[in-house]
């Protein structure tokens, strides 16, 4: 473990990516409590304020589901099933509890299964609504207060306004730094590859926020000093999807001859693009950030205006990314059995294509079992847009 602590920047991120959970295990061994969470919808600020180590759960696309299917139907989101499979196999033995936010049916309808079979000391299903109007903000505040009271009961630590504000400030700093790192992808060629970025994103989500801040700072320094990584003309690609957390996917895209320069994925820009308003009362600010600012398909957005206005409100950030990062093609990678994303595919596709950026839509499992087929389709797409 001392070895990892001696590493810096990208080398450290690589190690944390490869041995995911290693730092959380170490902190647990030092007497800290570790709380696992799923999805960008979990308010990590509250976990940080309570003094626990937030640890985002991920699966392993290279490992087949061998135990989870005995508990969860195969119609559940393949990512959720894979993470549960890892959990039931004991791979997250170092977590004391977990928070499961109500992002989608696959989480909501399996919450009893997580609670009843993992037998964790702490479990909370955070019933985040899907609607974003004024009554929903008030409701979200109640839901956050309930979450706070349960985590306080578990840890014995009172979450004060000050501790929450401090945690919000730290997570905002973490987000600002990550956005600065993303900025280094704007040059052509980008200064950091998509696979390197994937490793940083995964490493960061397994660390306490103050360690993530230090890691990202080191990486920015590393990367800033680099000369452009590759020569030659390559298409600049944006990856869109939910929890894509493996370099196997990013490698496939980049080895096919593209620069992966931006993402709209759950562990990436979705986590880091929107700050919590530090000038507002913290519970309200958190409610607004997670309900209104976060761009995920499970919050219903309707401006009351035209369909085009609604599309801008739902997907306008993607066009911004296209402009800012000079994106020339997009890969929309959706997991099978995902209703929230699945119902958006025609809308997202036509919205992006309307600004003359081609979109490759892939529907697949959270698994490498069909990697060869996916590789062929990505190669064909890159040839088409070349």
């Amino acid at each position: 473990m001392a070895g990892i602590q001696n590493l810096k920047g990208l080398a450290k991120a690589e190690k944390y990516y490869t041995d995911y959970g290693t730092r959380a295990k170490e902190l647990r061994a030092q007497g800290n409590r570790v709380i696992g969470y799923i999805s960008a919808l979990s308010p990590v600020e509250i976990l940080t304020a309570s003094g626990v180590v937030p640890f985002r759960l991920k699966g392993n696309v290279e490992e087949a589901i061998t135990k989870g299917d005995a508990y969860m139907e195969t119609i559940v989101c393949p990512f959720v099933r894979n993470v549960f499979d890892s959990a039931i196999k004991g791979k997250f033995h170092f977590i004391d509890g977990m928070v499961l936010p109500h992002q989608c049916d696959s989480l909501d309808r399996t919450s009893d299964i997580w609670r009843d079979y993992l037998n964790l000391s702490y479990f909370h299903f955070l019933n985040v609504p899907h609607v974003t109007d004024e009554p929903s903000i008030e409701f979200m505040k109640e839901i956050l207060r309930l979450f706070i009271s349960t985590i306080e009961d578990f840890t014995g630590n009172k979450i004060t306004v000050d501790s929450l504000k401090k945690a919000i400030s730290l997570h905002n700093e973490n987000r600002r730094l990550m956005r600065s790192l993303y900025d280094l992808r704007k040059s052509n060629p980008p200064l950091i590859t998509g696979s390197e970025m994937m490793k940083v994103l995964v490493a960061a989500m397994g660390l306490p926020v103050y360690e993530s801040i230090e890691l990202i700072k080191e990486i920015i320094e590393d990367v800033k000093g680099r000369k452009p990584l590759t020569d030659g003309q390559r298409k600049r690609i944006m990856l869109i999807g939910d929890q894509i957390d493996s370099v196997i996917i990013t490698d496939t895209i980049e080895k096919a001859g593209a620069y992966l320069v931006m993402d709209d994925i759950s562990i990436g820009s979705k986590m880091y693009w929107q700050d919590v308003d530090e000038d507002k009362e913290p519970i309200l600010a958190l409610a607004e950030r997670y309900l209104r600012k976060l761009k995920i398909p499970t919050t219903f957005v309707d401006t009351g205006g035209t369909y085009e206005e609604n599309l801008n409100a739902r997907f306008g950030h993607m066009r911004k990314y296209i402009e800012e990062f000079n994106v020339e093609g997009a890969i929309l990678f959706i997991y099978k059995y995902c209703d929230p994303y699945g119902f958006e595919v025609p809308a997202i596709k036509s919205y992006i294509e309307a600004v003359a950026v081609d979109v490759l839509y892939l529907e697949d499992e959270y698994s490498i079992s069909s990697l060869a087929r996916m590789k062929t389709r990505i190669e064909a797409f890159l040839e088409m847009i070349a």
Binding site: D105, H130, K336, E344, P346
Partner: protein
């Protein structure tokens, strides 16, 4: 038109009158324009029924039309149409069926889609969706539909209930949940007022809500007659007789239907007239929407001497007195309490039996009250809402209750492509043998 399978023979006269009901509901959406009424795409169990009825908005129920398409084995053309624009087959096929239908409507530039089963649904003036703990398509389906009907405004309200947590007291949470649901219903009223140009008649709404309460009570009184041995009606019929409760709540027709069904069942009970003779096995349909294209499978169960005196599916109500609703003069708040308590009123029971779940307590209650010998679930591959978690329910039932025979059937609600009749019947045969052995063991 695709092959139309012969319908299931029905045990009750009332169930046989249901197709007329369904056709009437669809026809009303077509005729609405002539009558100067607005049509709303609507989705079941959203709590907005009474608001629509009080404002003379004609609901066009997506699930009902998709079910009709499936039952007539004529859904494939719509599923394929949706698939042609990248809607995956793994998505809710109720939704993709009607989206395909609206894609055709949009392409043809017509209000009435030709060659649609039973005339199809009229073009909506608005879409009323709902976000809940029930199902993601209830708010994604409207958005996806709007992609093809761009001028149609959408309202999505919220109708949540406290999730079950054995360590948390849901009673403390109910109040803020009901407040939220009530406010969302009020937002729904505002939206409907804006798009109909009419003001809500609150007295009329109160009357309709009262009628719904009466209908809930009568529905349960009627269905409880099925406790009789032999049972006078089984789930095969209930998949029809759910229509007035599910799609016509708040109307006198719905209430009258259950009065007629009540009288018919009472007569059958008096005459000891069962669904099958002899009634050898009594089963519970414990969860899962049926395969609408294969309702004849209930008859296959019947041919083995098995009946379903009770089901969880589409029993979307409870006796009002059992819900212990707080008094309120606000009809919207009453609706909110009714829905929240509908879901939470099994929680206390579940908390008393360690390791249990509200859904499992409900199944246990029905097994005991309806004297069931076996449990059947149906897992539909395109619907996570009702079908994710069935394995857990089955396992929990065995763990906290007893080793009762359980069958989990697999198929879909609309998409026939994954259905295999021979395989399904083989599984039913094996299950019936297990139930028979269980009954012998239990004496």
């Amino acid at each position: 038109m695709a092959e139309e399978k012969k319908g299931r023979a029905l045990a009750t006269k009332a169930a046989a009158s249901i197709p007329k009901f369904v056709r009437g509901n669809l026809a009303a959406t077509i005729k609405a324009k002539e009558e100067g009424k607005k049509v709303a795409y609507a989705y079941i169990a959203d709590g907005q029924d009474e608001i629509m009825r009080a404002m003379d908005i004609v609901p066009a129920w997506g699930e009902s039309f998709a079910g009709v398409c499936a039952a007539k084995r004529d859904a494939e053309k719509y599923l394929q149409k949706a698939e042609s624009d990248n809607f995956s087959r793994s998505l809710c096929t109720y939704a993709t069926c009607t989206i395909g239908f609206d894609m055709i409507r949009s392409e043809l530039g017509v209000d009435i889609v030709p060659d649609a089963p039973w005339g199809g649904m009229g073009r909506p003036d608005m879409i009323l969706g709902s976000a809940q703990l029930l199902c993601d398509p209830r708010f994604k389906w409207p958005q996806a539909t709007q992609h093809y009907l761009r001028d149609v405004p959408i309202f999505v309200g919220a109708m949540y209930y406290p999730p079950f947590d054995p360590k948390l007291n849901h009673h403390e949470q109910e109040k803020f949940y009901v407040k939220y649901c009530t406010e969302e219903l009020r937002e729904c009223v505002k939206f409907c007022e804006k798009h109909t140009g009419k003001k809500m008649d609150w007295d009329r709404l109160a009357e309709i809500v009262e009628l719904s309460d009466k209908t809930w009570d009568l529905f349960i009184d009627t269905y409880e007659l099925r406790k009789a041995i032999p049972t006078p009606m089984d789930t095969g019929d209930a998949m029809n007789t759910m229509v007035p409760l599910t799609f016509n709540l708040g109307t006198q027709e719905a209430y009258d239907f259950y009065k007629q069904l009540y009288d018919e069942l009472q007569e059958k009970v008096k005459n000891k007239e069962g669904v099958v003779e002899p009634e050898k096995y009594r089963l519970i349909w414990a969860a899962g929407l049926p395969s609408w294209f294969a309702l004849g499978d209930f008859q296959y169960f019947n041919s083995k001497g098995a009946t379903f005196p009770v089901e969880v599916t589409y029993r979307g109500c409870e006796k009002i007195e059992r819900l212990e609703l707080p008094k309120t003069s606000d009809p919207l708040e009453h609706i909110a309490w009714r829905w929240v308590r509908y879901w939470t009123h099994w929680y206390d029971k579940a908390r008393k039996r360690p390791g249990s779940l509200p859904k499992v307590e409900r199944i246990i209650e029905y097994i005991e009250e309806y004297k069931c010998d076996g449990v059947v679930f149906h897992s539909a591959f395109s619907c996570r809402s009702w079908h994710a978690g069935i394995i857990h329910q089955a396992e929990t039932l065995k763990k906290v209750y007893k080793e009762i025979p359980i069958l989990i059937l697999e198929g879909d609600i609309v998409d026939i492509s994954s259905y295999n009749e021979a395989d399904t019947h083989n599984r039913i045969d094996a299950f019936i043998e297990a139930v028979d052995a269980y009954k012998s063991r239990m004496g």
